[in-house]
Symmetry: C3
Subunit: 346 residues, 3 copies
């Protein structure tokens, strides 16, 4: 498959600067691109990579360095245009509709005839599988769960009883939606931890992506919610009754305790931990490995454990790195002060 | 399903204060409860939620605020009574006994006729599946492994060769019991990491819950043990030859290295990491994300990485947050001291 | 199965000191070993365990304490010799070749007749399964993926389209190779996160071990690489376009962001997090839970988050632990200084 630079410019409504008839066969990052490929430049940090790339066509904003003999497609958001062109070259995989004879569909389940059920997929009674949904081998759908149209559940994904997954979602292998929340009451008389039934559900809204081996626990009562357009990376833990707000980004290995709410457009970097019963405000950003122990204001940027403002954290951490010197100086001052005091008292 | 307040009082041996004939249809937290539902009050932190709840019946201890026109059920442990009443409304799911024709049972395996094996479950030779045990689709049971009575293994759970799972356990989807411990010897001559065979097993005792995508590695020799009544959340890692003591609570994303022992009733909050060859004493508590690098005394409360006493850690961390100011003050003192010294030497 | 001490000495080319006809029935650590077993002594830290062990034969280096009435096998690397003898007692499991009638092989897939495909394994079209490879139940192999000879994929492992797994690899249950990298471009006009197609692959070279529930994401374009002889523990996350260098050791719950490169023989302890677009040099070591935010030099040892030299980190952390005292001393010095200044100005 190839496209001319002119065709790609039209696709992303970009302004062509250079050779429109160049034939492009694929896309890649600046460093990896080969001749005949298109790349993008969106960050001055990659000026050197731009200078050295073999890519023949570059998606670039107004601020890009002079194009030399390369061809530029000028667009307002090069990263976004790159996503669009990459999708042109690598469209989502098509699946033949139909239910494998080796899939298991319990009586009472409703599977849309345009859906794809591969061998070894299992759909429990009263579950509903929407139009053009795809269930890979090993997928388990619990009783009365609902999977929206055009949603793809990759191999060995588990969606338990009554949970709801919206339309156009993509769930990666071995993700688990709707396992029990972690709740026990302690009975000192036995002694034993007595299980609190987890009677709620998980509701995953439309256009959500959930990474491999990520776990979204069902609510104790009510709902755990992954709101529209949110994206979860791999190995993420979402505790019972929590909410991940619309378009929030949750990177790999993040853990949310129970009954915590992320606002709209929140970004949690990798391995962040969030305590329970908190709210993280809209558009807040949390640095990797931070531990959130209290509410976070809209738009805040947090770091550390327990986390506070990233700017302040980095300032404290800079002093932390020279604490041994600081401690030595304090000792030295004490001695000098003692000398002065002694002199005075003489 | 409904129960009267009086019936529920009898169930938990509570003292009824108010309207015994109220018809209750379900349970929920104070904030989420609807009319006709029961909730509980166990912590003064939720006084405001108590004032505003729509719940008509409240499980409460002696210290609860005046009940007003609500109905109270007085009990010594409201959280525990809530678990009991929630179980009345949401009893554990029943499964029809029997082995699906699409389950795979190797010759030599012993499956109790009262057990449930769903389509796609796999039981290897010489394995033993106890009475009323439930194996969901995608469950794999290795050779000579044993699953106790009334234990439920959810979808895609893996229990490898010779591992033992006790009675009344609940294992959530994609948990892995008995994968190889992580052990290699370095051969500098090749060079290569040479695998040390992991010849031991995992022993999970009775009444244990193991979360989704959690991994309990088999011992190199001997046993890795999850003792009676312990509860593990999702995405937990238990290294080879470690022991999780009875009734210990291990929250999501905790990692234990090898040959580490948790005592009785230990609580590890989310994302805690524990180095190898240590002992964490009975009833010790470890704050989220802490890194345990040495033995922990019985009853201690630890925080930080490397962890020490939580009280001391929080005091140090309070100073950490104002380190830039402290550093500036130190500079200022030095200058003032220099001025005094100069004057003296003049 | 038993072996004499003399036979085992020959196996590891060790020098026998003591009773060559002793019959040995197994191996264990010093603390766990029973009579009739062999153990090893490689670290002076275990001198007490050596004194108390029931093991009758000990693999030991030149520096071991006097053997008393025990039998020693002197070898240059006791840990490595232990691995070799343990493998003699616990050889890798043999599998009968052949494809279960309940395995699913799509037309166009090539499965070597000596490979083992258990019930419920699924091989997509154009995939290639090498000689003596073993696919446990629930394994999913995507289109045109290739699995090398003698590689074992345990239960519910997922290898997605076009990914390559080399020879003699061992992949533990529920590991996921080739799920999409986590990449989106933000479209402010909708607003929405637009998926960047993940068109690259994962290449796992020979002799690699990948732990249970670990996730290695496919590259956006190009390859994510796990190089020859690298060993990954459980619940590890490897982001798109990253490289784990030859013989590197990646402990449980480590997370690598995208486009990061580990050199040769790197060791990352448990729960380490590494930011994207970095290089960690050959033989570098990173302490548990560290957060790597910049390049790491060859051979460095790092700790903390953001990480710096472990030696320096521990020195700073020692002062951190006494910050409250340091802060009090600073206050005291200020007051004493003020007293001197006041006196001077009187």
């Amino acid at each position: 498959m190839t496209r001319t630079a002119r065709q790609l410019a039209a696709l992303v409504r970009g302004e062509l600067e250079g050779e429109g008839e160049l034939s492009i066969s694929g896309v890649a990052g600046l460093a990896d691109a080969q001749e005949g490929e298109l790349s993008f430049y969106a960050n001055p940090k990659y000026k050197a990579a731009l200078a050295n790339t073999k890519a023949m066509v570059i998606l670039a904003g107004a601020e890009a360095p002079p194009r030399g003999k390369r061809t530029y497609l000028r667009v307002p958001n090069p990263h976004l245009a790159f996503a669009q062109i990459a999708t042109e070259f690598h469209p989502p995989k098509k699946h033949l509709p139909g239910c494998s004879s080796a899939a298991h569909v319990e009586p009472g389940a409703k599977v849309d005839p345009s859906a794809t059920l591969m061998a070894g997929a299992f759909v429990s009674k009263d579950a509903v599988i929407g139009a053009r949904a795809v269930l890979y081998p090993g997928v388990f759908i619990g009783e009365a769960a609902r999977i929206g149209e055009d949603t793809v559940l990759s191999a060995n994904v588990v969606v338990l009883d009554r949970c709801l997954v919206g339309a156009r979602c993509l769930v990666h292998p071995c993700a688990v939606i709707g396992a029990d929340g972690f709740g026990f009451a302690f009975d000192a008389s036995t002694p034993a931890h007595i299980k609190i039934p987890q009677a709620g559900i998980v509701r995953v809204e439309d256009d959500v992506e959930i990474g491999a081996c990520s776990c979204v626990d069902r609510a104790t009562t009510g709902e755990t919610v992954i709101a529209k357009g949110a994206k979860l990376d791999n190995l993420v833990q979402i505790g019972h009754n929590s909410t991940v707000g619309p378009m929030s980004i949750v990177c790999a290995q993040v853990g949310l305790s129970g009954t915590t709410e992320l606002g709209t457009g929140v970004v949690l970097a990798g391995q962040v931990g969030v305590a329970g019963h908190l709210r993280i405000g809209d558009m807040a950003k949390v640095a990797g490995q931070a531990g959130i122990m209290g509410d976070v204001a809209d738009g805040a940027t947090m770091m550390g454990a327990p986390a506070f403002s990233q700017r302040d954290y980095l300032r404290s951490y800079a002093v932390f790195a020279r604490l041994p010197a600081l401690s030595r100086e304090l000792s030295s001052l004490r001695k000098r002060l003692e000398a002065l005091e002694e002199e005075k008292n003489r």
